[in-house]
Symmetry: C2
Subunit: 299 residues, 2 copies
């Protein structure tokens, strides 16, 4: 059985926080560890509000170095040091932007009890965990920006009957998966004859960005695409100018990617309610939900 | 009639935020302007939660450059720029610590639409507003730290009958106040004979600190002393070691200063309830209140 992937929306606002919405951050919990995607101001408190343990964070993936997506790092790394954490923390930022994030970690010369390993992100696989990997893909924003795909490893579902008949047991299964074929009782067994490939589930996070072909490719058949939609179509020129997406544009990306579900977030503070955004997106892509702070989805 | 001074506790936690308490910040509203004392992470959102307009902020007074008291500046100064503020913002930090706060303002090279005027704080009057001033006084903490006294100007209450009889009118009142005496109808009038001096109200903010003689002096007869009390007496050695105060110590400062009221805050996250702190403080100084996030007092 695949492990649950739990997604928690810690912050769903646009560039300024509101009473109801904190600045962007999405947590993915998998196999006892937590990974953050963006870390807006107040993320550590949101974790406590929604009962996520910050000490379980293994890696933080920052899309781009705009204040509203990154300032929460400053407080979080210091709080993690309060209990003398020793486990290293992986911090991913767009390649070339490392020097912009450093001041948030070092400004007051605080003693950090653990290593913060900063990795410059380029397109492709950037992190390999047990049973999953994280891929980065380029986005279209005013400064270097990457989206991220959290992807479970593909796995093989073996035909029990057939496997037994052919004498497969013990580590023969994993050998067969890694090699593609093995010999048992002088007979060559092909993986594809005895097992069916099951694609790993994929959760894709894209902010801040114009609609992009790279997102469509990364979100191909994804269980969930989380896409920023800052404006409604009425402000499509503003969206272009400021390099954000409208609700219709985000929904079109989901549709073209054949994603199973779209979650939109990062709405401009001009909207008192998410209603116009969700209405607009649903016209293009029916299975759309507007994220709210504290929303949790387990797949 | 004196103008109301409204105090809002935006954050009352110790070094890490909790579900109930955000990191330290106290707002004082006076005559249409807002002044912040400390600016922990999430302060801008707390302002929106408790319906304070961040665009009214004129000055921010930072006690010391420890992350939990200062990180909120990073997001706040950027949000203030979103609406193209042009009015300068005064930012007070302990003298010599200016270079530590700068990275929070500049890390991502964001365009700030207004001037941030950074002033290095030493003991004495550091800001003069219309009808009030702010004084700084040294505190005892692990790095350079100052407390602040928000003090209304002293004023004079004139005896109406006597003033009329002596022929005082128009700008003669203000002339008499500034000079101490004036001549009317060839007769010298002494200020003290016709008016009674009314001391301006004082609100004093002291965090983070050991109990200090400087606080006692600054809080002399204050309407309100806001003092950190991180621990109960049980942890008095920890308080000494980490240069914080116990509830009993904070209360002793209030008692020795003959303050009218003590508000304690900044409690360690080890306390699930403020009960033990408030109980301990009240034994020493009866008129003590434990601050909570959103608590407002108008004097």
């Amino acid at each position: 059985m695949p492990l649950p992937i739990r997604i928690t929306f810690l912050g769903t606002a646009g560039s300024a926080p509101t009473k109801e919405r904190n600045l962007p951050s999405v947590a993915i919990e998998y196999d006892g560890s937590t990974y953050l995607f963006d870390c807006g101001e107040g993320t550590q408190r949101q974790m406590s509000t929604y009962s996520l343990n910050p000490y379980r964070i293994k890696g933080i993936f920052i899309t781009h170095i705009h204040g509203d997506h990154v300032i929460g790092l400053a407080g979080l790394v210091r709080t993690l040091a309060l209990t003398k954490r020793t486990e290293p923390l992986y911090l991913f930022v767009p390649k070339g932007e490392e020097s912009k994030v450093m001041p948030l970690l070092t400004f007051d010369r605080a003693l950090i009890s653990y290593k913060i390993i900063i990795k410059g992100v380029k397109s492709g696989e950037i992190f390999k965990g047990k049973g999953f990997s994280v891929m980065a893909f380029k986005l279209k924003h005013s400064i270097p920006t990457y989206g991220f795909a959290f992807k479970e490893d593909d796995r093989y579902r073996f035909d029990k009957e057939k496997s037994k008949r052919l004498g497969l047991k013990g580590d023969a299964f994993s050998k067969l998966v890694s090699r593609g074929s093995i010999k048992i009782r002088n007979k060559t067994i092909q993986l594809k004859d005895v097992a069916e490939k099951v694609m790993g589930r994929k959760v894709v996070y894209a902010a801040d960005t114009r609609p992009a072909q790279t997102t469509i490719e990364a979100a191909k058949d994804a269980e969930i695409l989380i896409h920023e939609t800052t404006y409604t179509d009425e402000f499509r020129n503003l969206a272009k100018e400021r390099l954000h997406s409208t609700a219709a544009e985000g929904a079109t990306v989901a549709k073209n990617a054949k994603a199973k579900r779209l979650i939109i977030f990062h709405m401009s503070a001009r909207y008192k309610s998410a209603e116009p955004l969700i209405k607009e997106a649903k016209k293009v892509f029916k299975n759309t939900t507007q994220a709210y702070d504290g929303m949790q989805i387990t797949i």
